[in-house]
Structures are given as structure tokens and as C-alpha cells.
Amino acid sequence: MTGYVLQRLLQALLVCLGISVITFVMLHVAGDPAQLLVPMEASREDVELLRRQLGLDRPLPVRYLIFLGGILTGNFGRSFFSQDPALGLVLDRLPATLELALAGLGLALVVAIPLGSLAALKRGTLWDRGTTALAVGGQAMPAFWLGLMLIIVFSVKLRLLPVSGRDSPAHLVLPAATLASFLLPVLMRLTRSQMIEILGQDYIRTARAKGVGMAALIFRHALRNAWIPIVTVVGLQFGRLLGGTIVTETVFAWPGAANLAVRAIRNLDYPVVQTVVILLAFSIVVVNLLTDLVVARLDPRVRLQ
């Protein structure tokens, strides 16, 4: 077990290394940050001076090795734009993104599982069709548009919730709802199909025959088994959830890491972009690993080698 975890963590490091090479090259192709960092009035000499200051005059492989050496010693460099240490900038913003991601995930689960189960239990009825329509609609709706609609309805018209920012728990509601829309349709459809399959199984029939009550039947017997694929899918969709934070944080001015990354990419702020990408890649790999561990816990048939 410990050996398995160590092996997976080593793989995670290799993945991060590969990703760092790709981002490094892609950013280099995107353009010259020195040109963006000086105002338009600056002379060519000023641009050259800045390029030397930032070490951008060195060959690409050398720059990559310096960058890698820095990371190994815990130094992710300084933001070209604000001069702050890149790691500190990203770590400051990460809690906000995690808060949003967890709230979005939690909301998606809390809504998807009961509605999905309901649809399965009342298969073919108006309930079932209603939730399916909701799932399809949710999948088709662009999150950007959904976020703005939520703002217009709940903040501008009804004045129930704040428009944007992160000052109080109320500020979390609309962004979490928007982010949940990324996962909700998938989870709801998955729960429904899983429950339909499980409810047709022999052991459920046996339990029913024994006179087990409806609630116990669903919670103790059916849902327990439905959990396994749901956990797997949540783990796999974690990357998608983080992708969703980009749109959500932008629309709701949520001060998270995705918001920071968007601006850093616009400014070609290499150190910040690199740090965000590496940390996010690492966290996705770790979440996938955790998913595998949890599934092994839930499903006695799975053994980790």
C-alpha cells in the first residue's frame, strides 16, 4: 500500500515535470513578456535592459534549467508584473479557489444524488423527465451566461444576494451554484443510471422480500453501491471543476488562483503562470490518487498493488 502510494506520487512528479516543459515552451512561443512589461513609450534599449534583468536574453533550455533548479529549492521566482514571489501569490489565492471548488462540488452532490435517485425510483414519470430535462439543459448552458443570469435575477432584480466578491458566506452562493452546473448534469445522470441498475439487482429484491423499509433500502443497500462510480467520476471530473473556476472566478470577481492565472497569462507573467499550472497539475494528480484510495476503501473487490 505504502509502496503503491509512493509509486503514484513519483508518477505525479514526472507528470508535473512534463507539464512544466510544455507550459514553458508554450509561453515562450506566445511572445516576449519584456515588450508587454514596459509602456509603449519605452525605447528598444529599455526593453533590452529589462530582458536582461529578467534573464530573458538567455537561451530557452538554460532558462528552463534555472527555473527547474529554483523549484527544487522551493523558489518559483518572482512575478514579472508585481515583483512578488510567485509561490506566495498563488498560495494566497489557493484557499479561495479550494473553497469555491468544494462548495461547487458539495452543492452538485447534494442536488444530484437525491434528484438522480428520485428519477430512478420514479422512472418514466414526470419527475424522471423533469430531472432529465434539467440535466440536459444544465449541460447545454454555458456557465458564463448562467453566472450572469443568476446575477441579474438574484442580485440586480430580487436583491437577495451580492453580485461579486468574497466578503461573506452569502457571496459564495451564486459562484458555487454556477460552478456546480459543471458537474451537476453528469452526476445526476450517473446516479440515475446506477440506481436503476442497482434497484434491479437480486440482493435488492431479496431485501425487499425480507421487508426492509424503503429508506433503509435506498440508503443502506442501493446508494452504498452507487457511491463507487460516483466517487470515481468526481475524481476524474476534478480537473473539469478547476477549469470551471476560471469562468466562475472571472464572472464573480472571486479572488482565487484561476483569476490570478488569467491575468498572468495575459501579461505573459511566466513565473506566476508556471507556478499556478504546476500546483494545479499536482493537485489534480493527488486528487486522482486519493480517489483510487477511497474507491479501494469503498469497494472491497479493488486491491491496490
Binding site: L36, P39, D92
Partner: protein, 508 residues
């Protein structure tokens, strides 16, 4: 007893002079900003908007009238040219930084020298300065390498920092918790979330008024639609650069209004004459044809709402502007004839690039230009770029581009040099035209202290560029603020935010 009475009388008189004339700052407003400020150290900043925010915290030696653009005293109460390369500036007495340190000639010298440092992105503002001398605690002399007629304009952009405090806390901390002499001081900065400014009760009251607003909260909100929703729901009191199609939404809301002002920014079509553009553009007849083909009046009226000014050269606000240099009249028949004479009767193809920046409706305006050119037989391949990095690559590299729909803000400098030099000067990054005649005249005007002579030279340059049809000047831009009904604010002409000019319409 008599002394006591006298003191009392003086006290009352002072109270009447200051206390009644100036109301205490009160209440709090929230201003939405597109992205967070870069740093709070003026010498670490390249971003134009951050510079404007720092005007609230710092003062420069000189200040600019927000409506007229003329120079006003800043920390310097007077100035004179000792000789063509030496300016002497006398500072106000008793002005102190927020930390108590005096704003002395020493601080001015320190700041100008720090501004010239190799790491400073805007070091060109003091590029002409040879040295700075302290004559006495309130007198400073700025000696330039050559005569510099726009030195004073540049000094408006150089904010004065406290040397002692800066050395004490170090550059990094100064960038987070600065001390200036301005009407506001920084009380809190949570990066990416909020910057809070508090009115400085001990402000020395120079050309900037005493603020009416006690607390200002600047909040980064990247999405314009969200900013508008905040304005309409009362979450923020001011948004900057309202998209023109959203102006009616704000006006109709009954909760906020829109204020606009023509700015120093000028929009034009740049022609890639000298940097590997289409060979056709080397022919003046083709360039003249392009000028005749585009109906600048119509674009100005229909896409810019007639705001800002139509121009045939540079911005009318700038020294050196010559109203006699008019835009080419819209004349498609003449354009077609010129193209025939140039040997392009069968038409030609040009690549046009536009980008999303501080301009209004850039993509639509560029499309309109493309349509006008197509009508006279110039096929246009139009490409609109959103990404700034890609734009820099295209624009600076002059790659794959013959025509660039662009604009220039002249870094707040009301002088022809601030736009003519970057676009037509020798070795400039954004210049698409290399004309030795223009280079020579630009240098003559740049280093002359004779205002009348400079005016004549700029007229000559503008006329020459017009006759050669080196570009297509279009119109000047405008800035639009969405302002809640709680406050009063008039948009200034240089794109710089001035929250100390905001006053209350309602009691907070």
C-alpha cells in the same frame, strides 16, 4: 490676557479660513477596477491605470489641470528656466509625507534619481535628465543633457517618494505600504480583493482639492457585465470605460449616470510604409487613395457617437496641433483614380490588424475601414486580435501587417512630441514610417526651448505627413465613467482617475 485674545482671534480667523471653506471628508464609495493595481511603488509601475491610482497617494513636482490639461503647481510652487538646460523649481514649505518626513528638495532629487534606475519601467520620463542639484532645502535644479521643452510635462508623471522611509522599510515593503504626500493614504491592500484609501486629514492642499470622500474602496472586477450589475445594484459607485452599447442600460436604470470626456488618446490607421509591408504602400498615390477612400466622418459619427474630435493629424489638445491640416475628404472616385495612376487598376490586397484595447468599438471600426477600402478596389484581409502578447508580436515585429487600426494615449503629455516621436521617430518600436526628413524635424522640435519655433516645426511635420499620406488620422477617443447617483464626478481629459474630485450628491 491681550495675547490670549489675540491668539483666540487668530484661531477663529484660521478656523473661518480653513474650517468653513473645506468640509470634512465623509462616507465611503466603492470603485470597480478592471484588474488589481500592479504595485504601490511608483517606480515599480508600468501599468497606466496603476499610475493614475498612485496620484491619490503621491504628488509630483507639477500637476495637470484635469479639464484644460495646463500645468499647475504640484509640490513645486514655482519654476523657471535658468538656462536652456537647467530648470529651477521652488517647493512648497511645510509639506510632509504621511510618515512625517518633510517633502524636501532632497526627496525630489532622490525620487528623480531613483526614477532613472535600470529596473524602472518608465525611466524614459527622466531620460533627458543629466543630474539633479539641491540648491537649498526647498530649491531643486534639474539639469538636462540637451534643452528639453517637455521636461515639465514629464515631471507630472514622476511621483515624489520619501527617501528616509524607503531606506528604512526597503523597496519590497514600500511597494505594499507606501507613504506619499497625496490627499489619500493607503490603509489596506489585500491583493486581488481590495485597496482601501483614506482621506489624508493633514493634506497640504495644493492643486489637488481636499477630498470629499473619506474612504475609497477599489475592487478588481475583471468582467464588465459584472461591473455594470454591481453599479445597478448599488454595490459599486463608479465603473470606468463603459462599453457604448451599455450606456443606455445605465442611463435607463435611474440609479446611475454616465459621464464622458474627450481624451488625449487618438485613433488612426497606421500604414506599414517602411517595415516590410506591401510594396504598394511605398507609393504615395496608394496611401493618398487609402486616405480618400475612408469616410472618417461617418465612422466617427456612427461608431463613436460623435464623441471626441475628428482630426486630420494629432489630438487638438496637444501643443503643435495645426487645425489647417485637415483630413482627406471622402472621395472614392478620386481614390480609384489614384490607384489607377499608381498602376493598381486591377486592385490590390492589404492585411489589416485591429485589437481590443482602450479603444471604443475597435473591431467594428476596423471592419468599416475594410469595407470602405474594398469599395475602391483594395481587398482587405482583416484580423482582429484579443490577445495582447500576440498583438505585441504583430505590431512590434511589423509582421504580416500592412494596416494597423491603433490608438495612442501620449502618456498624458499634451505635446506633439509624445505621439509624433513614437510613431514617426527614428528607431522607435512602433514606427512604421522611416522618413529622414521627419526624423530631422522631430529632433529640432524636441530640443528647442523656443515655443513659437517648435509650433512652426510641428506644423511643417504634420503638413509633410499629410501630403505624403503616411497615415490615416481619424478621431480622438473619449473615456466613459458609469457613476452612481450618490456621487458627482466629471470625467477628466487625460484618462487619469481623480477620486479627490468626487463629491457627494446625497448625504452618505
Amino acid at each position: 490676557m491681550r495675547r490670549g485674545t489675540l491668539n483666540l482671534a487668530i484661531g477663529i480667523a484660521l478656523a473661518l479660513l480653513t474650517g468653513t471653506a473645506v468640509a470634512e471628508p465623509r462616507g465611503r464609495i466603492t470603485v470597480a477596477i478592471d484588474s488589481d493595481v500592479q504595485s504601490l511603488d511608483p517606480m515599480a509601475v508600468s501599468d497606466r491605470f496603476t499610475q493614475a491610482v498612485l496620484w491619490h497617494v503621491f504628488d509630483s513636482l507639477l500637476y495637470r489641470d484635469p479639464q484644460k490639461g495646463t500645468l499647475l503647481p504640484g509640490l513645486a510652487r514655482s519654476w523657471r528656466a535658468v538656462n536652456p538646460t537647467t530648470w529651477e523649481l521652488k517647493l512648497h514649505e511645510g509639506v510632509r509625507f504621511h510618515t512625517g518626513e518633510p517633502a524636501s528638495a532632497e526627496a525630489a532629487k532622490f525620487s528623480l534619481e531613483r526614477m532613472a534606475g535600470p529596473k524602472v519601467p518608465r525611466r524614459y520620463e527622466v531620460g533627458s535628465v543629466a543630474r539633479v542639484e539641491v540648491v537649498d532645502p526647498l530649491t531643486v535644479r534639474v539639469v538636462t543633457k540637451r534643452a528639453d521643452p517637455i521636461l515639465l510635462e514629464s515631471l507630472v508623471n514622476v511621483q515624489i517618494v520619501p527617501p528616509r522611509y524607503l531606506r528604512e522599510v526597503g523597496e519590497e515593503r514600500f511597494g505594499r505600504a507606501p507613504s506619499g504626500t497625496g490627499p489619500y493614504r493607503v490603509t489596506e491592500w489585500v491583493k486581488g480583493q481590495r485597496l482601501i484609501l483614506e482621506a489624508n486629514q493633514d493634506h497640504w492642499r495644493g492643486s489637488k482639492p481636499v477630498p470629499a470622500i473619506k474612504t475609497v474602496l477599489l475592487r478588481p472586477i475583471p468582467e464588465k457585465a459584472t461591473q455594470i450589475a454591481e453599479l445597478l445594484s448599488g454595490g459599486v459607485d463608479m465603473i470606468i470605460n463603459v462599453p457604448p452599447d451599455q450606456i443606455p442600460v445605465i442611463t435607463a436604470s435611474g440609479r446611475a449616470r454616465v459621464t464622458t470626456a474627450a481624451t488625449l488618446r487618438t485613433s488612426f490607421l497606421q500604414l506599414n510604409v517602411s517595415r516590410a509591408g506591401s510594396p504598394a504602400l511605398q507609393n504615395p498615390k496608394v496611401r493618398q487613395a487609402i486616405n480618400h477612400a475612408i469616410d472618417g466622418d461617418a465612422i466617427h459619427k456612427n461608431l463613436m457617437g460623435g464623441l471626441g474630435h475628428r482630426t486630420g493629424s494629432i489630438n487638438p489638445f496637444q501643443f503643435g496641433y495645426d487645425p489647417a491640416v485637415r483630413p482627406y475628404p471622402y472621395d472614392p472616385a478620386r481614390a480609384r483614380q489614384l490607384l489607377r495612376e499608381a498602376g493598381y487598376a486591377g486592385g490590390l490586397e492589404l492585411r489589416l490588424v485591429s485589437y481590443s484595447g482602450t479603444m471604443v468599438n475597435p473591431e467594428l471600426a476596423a471592419q468599416a475601414i475594410a469595407d470602405y477600402l474594398t469599395k475602391v478596389g483594395i481587398r482587405v484581409k482583416h484580423r482582429h486580435v484579443e490577445d495582447l502578447a500576440l498583438l505585441a508580436k504583430i505590431w512590434l515585429g511589423a509582421q504580416d501587417v500592412d494596416l494597423m487600426y491603433a490608438s495612442w494615449a501620449s502618456r498624458g503629455i499634451f505635446d506633439a512630441d509624445a505621439i509624433m516621436r513614437p510613431l514617426f521617430g527614428s528607431g522607435e518600436r512602433y514606427a512604421y514610417v522611416a522618413d529622414p526628413q521627419i526624423h530631422k524635424w522631430l529632433d529640432e522640435a524636441r530640443f528647442s526651448m523656443d515655443a513659437a519655433a517648435r509650433k512652426v516645426i510641428y506644423s511643417r511635420i504634420l503638413r509633410h505627413i499629410h501630403d505624403q499620406a503616411h497615415w490615416v488620422p481619424l478621431y480622438t477617443s473619449f473615456v466613459t465613467y458609469g457613476v452612481s447617483n450618490r456621487i458627482h464626478y466629471e470625467a477628466p481629459t487625460d484618462e487619469n482617475l481623480r477620486l479627490f474630485d468626487v463629491t457627494w450628491r446625497e448625504r452618505p
